[in-house]
């Protein structure tokens, strides 16, 4: 009994289905999202770190390469000048013509990088000069670069605005030994700058060179704010020559910048590559954004689907529970009906014996009345009549119980050959008395030689009885006519049960075969009769339908297929 009780409780308590829905939704979401989140998190993190590493490695590699380019450029230029000093004598180098020739050779070979050449004596006077500017006999004695250059074998200056007002830097080489003069060359800053600028990457990447004090040696692509603190951090690290160090810093607007730094020119200069973090990792961020969008959409999809699915599922469960409840009730009702049927059968059976005895006694009285002593009796005729009546009524009782017993015999669903006309007559006889009592006349128009059908006789009896009883119930108060016809229509045997009762309203017609649908007062009808008929007729492959008009009456039509093989077996009795 337990399962039936619980569905009743479920249906009574709407909250059960709500919580069921909620639980289903939660479980689906949790089960679907957990691995999703776990995997996305895991892979996302892995991707993030390895991609960052890759990007940084790449940038470091580029910076390293450029460092090598720049360094080799610087040293090559230095070597150019140094070889001049080593190869040629002072006298040679003092010749302006020679310098001019050499300069044009250099410019030819190395592009416009070499601006000018000059020979400066130990006092700082430029004794020979070849170049575009009027710098013959210029005095550099107080120039910083000279003071430094005259003390070291070679010297590369920082970038500065010199006498000419243009940014440049100077390469100076002293000969070996005691000689105190030097050969200097001016290197075009712009050409150098463009070399450095070549390291552009992305939208915000720019490279520039600073010296150890943080002074720009090249012009950066953007107005980059370079923080000296980074420099100190870099310098204090005591980095190995080859390493490229990576730093991060926010600018005033809050944007985070990456700084890659590597020493140049023996550590005097530092090549700085700067790029906005979002720019450097643009691909990574884009991929992450995309993944996030997909994840969110997916998550939404999962949530949406689980909600929809769970709702629909629980609706179906609720419907199934409702149907189960209805079926349970039907089963119970059917059981009750069966009990009532058994009871009636039992009663009928019990009544038979007393009835038989009564009829016997009446017969005995009839016998005795034939004795002579009664011949003169005044009431003899009346005695005879009364006794006859007793016998008649007794026989009537016997017929009724007989019919009831034959009907109450366990319904056998076994399908046999059935002659519908016989069945109709049987049932009409059973109902006749009740109908007469309610002023209802039953007429039959049964087609002769009606083809037999395959059906269960007891089930057909049930259907007929139900239809006739319904008609009688409908016309109980007012009386009327019930007309039963049988005929053939195509491949079907058609049975019509029509009455002249109040009719069935249009609204009810659609639901009339629904279980538990009844217009009778509570206790007077279960609403199961027609639904059972419907089931029986459909089970045997037939159709049951109804036409009705309010105020006119109702006609129920039953169509049963004529079996193909022994269709026309004539009027064989079942």
């Amino acid at each position: 009994m337990a399962p039936e009780v619980s569905t009743k409780n479920h249906l009574a308590n709407g909250g059960y289905y709500r919580s069921l829905t909620r639980n289903m939704i939660l479980i689906v979401i949790v089960v679907s999202l957990s691995p999703l989140i776990l995997i996305s998190g895991l892979i996302g993190y892995q991707f993030h770190t390895s991609y960052q590493d890759k990007v940084l490695d790449h940038l470091q590699e580029i910076v390293r390469k450029h460092k090598q380019n720049i360094d080799s450029f610087l040293y090559e230029r230095l070597a150019n000048v140094a070889s001049l000093v080593r190869v040629h004598s002072l006298g040679r180098l003092s010749s302006e013509a020679f310098l001019k020739e050499t300069l044009s050779l250099f410019r030819e070979q190395y592009g416009g990088v070499f601006v000018d050449l000059g020979l400066v004596d130990e006092q700082g006077v430029q004794v020979a000069y070849a170049g575009p500017f009027e710098l013959g006999r210029a005095n550099y004695a107080n120039a910083e670069w000279f003071k430094r250059a005259i003390r070291s074998p070679f010297y590369i200056s920082d970038v500065f605005l010199g006498l000419r007002g243009l940014p440049h830097f100077i390469i100076a080489v002293k000969p070996d030994g005691d000689a105190r003069w030097l050969l200097r060359a001016t290197i075009d800053f712009m050409a150098f700058n463009s070399l450095v600028e070549a390291t552009q990457l992305g939208k915000t990447g720019s490279a520039f060179i600073v010296n150890q004090n943080g002074d720009f040696q090249t012009r950066p692509r953007f107005e980059a704010t370079f923080h000296r603190e980074l420099l100190t951090g870099f310098l204090s690290k005591k980095t190995v020559e080859e390493r490229v160090a990576v730093f991060e810093q926010n600018d005033p607007s809050g944007r985070t910048f990456l700084y890659l730094m590597t020493p140049l020119k023996n550590g005097q200069w530092i090549l700085v590559y700067q790029q906005a973090k979002t720019d450097a990792f643009a691909d990574l961020y884009r991929a992450q954004r995309l993944a996030l969008i997909i994840f969110l959409l997916g998550g939404l999809g999962i949530v949406g689907t689980s909600v929809l699915l769970s709702r629909r599922m629980v609706q179906r469960i609720a419907r199934a529970d409702r149907e189960k409840e209805m079926l349970n009730e039907q089963v119970i009702e059917a059981g009750k009906l069966a009990s009532v049927g058994e009871l009636a059968a039992g009663i009928a059976h019990e009544i038979n014996n007393p009835m038989a005895i009564m009829v016997e006694e009446a017969g005995w009285i009839e016998d005795l009345l034939q004795e002579e002593e009664f011949e003169e009796g005044a009431n003899l005729e009346e005695f005879k009549r009364a006794v006859k009546q007793i016998k008649t009524q007794g026989k009537r009782c016997k017929e009724i119980t007989h019919k009831l017993l034959s009907f109450a015999r366990k319904t056998d669903p076994k399908v046999v050959v059935v002659q519908l006309n016989d069945l109709v007559e049987e049932i009409v006889a059973l109902c006749e008395q009740r109908a007469k009592y309610s002023n209802i006349h039953i007429s039959m128009s049964l087609m002769p030689d009606l083809p037999t059908i395959h059906a269960s006789p007891s089930e057909m009896q049930q259907v007929l009885l139900n239809l006739i009883n319904n008609a009688v119930d409908a016309m109980e108060k007012s009386g009327g006519n019930i007309d039963i016809t049988t005929r053939v229509d195509g491949a079907h045997v058609v049975l019509d049960v029509g009455d002249t009762g109040p009719g069935i309203p249009q609204a009810n017609l659609a639901r009339i075969f629904d279980p538990f649908f009844t217009t009778k007062a509570v206790g007077k009808g279960t609403g199961l009769g027609l639904s059972i008929c419907y089931g029986i007729i459909h089970k045997m492959g037939g159709e049951i339908s109804v036409n009705s008009a309010v105020g006119v009456g109702a006609v129920f039509h039953i169509r049963v297929p004529i079996p193909k093989i022994d269709g026309k077996s004539g009027t064989s009795r079942s």
Partner: protein, 81 residues
């Protein structure tokens, strides 16, 4: 005139009694029994019974069993209602 001997077997006593009266009035010799067992007992000693009216539904041995039990003499012709 040889009178037919009829045995009535039924557990309903008033029925058997009234039936006996009626049939006796019609010049039949009536024997009665109120159970299948009693009927068989009487049949053992009474060999000249011509007709047996046998109720089917009786407590104890019902009509069918009684009929079976009465083999041992010439078989009965059966009419059933």
């Amino acid at each position: 005139m040889a009178m037919a001997v009829v045995m009535l077997v039924d557990d309903e006593v008033p029925f058997v009694e009234t039936m006996t009266k009626r049939l006796t009035k019609r010049n039949l010799t009536i024997l009665s029994a109120f159970s299948g067992a009693e009927a068989l007992e009487k049949l053992k000693t009474q060999k000249n019974v011509d007709v047996v009216v046998l109720d089917v539904k009786m407590p104890g041995m019902d009509g069918i069993e009684t009929l079976r039990g009465s083999s041992g003499r010439t078989p009965w012709w059966r009419w059933s209602c």
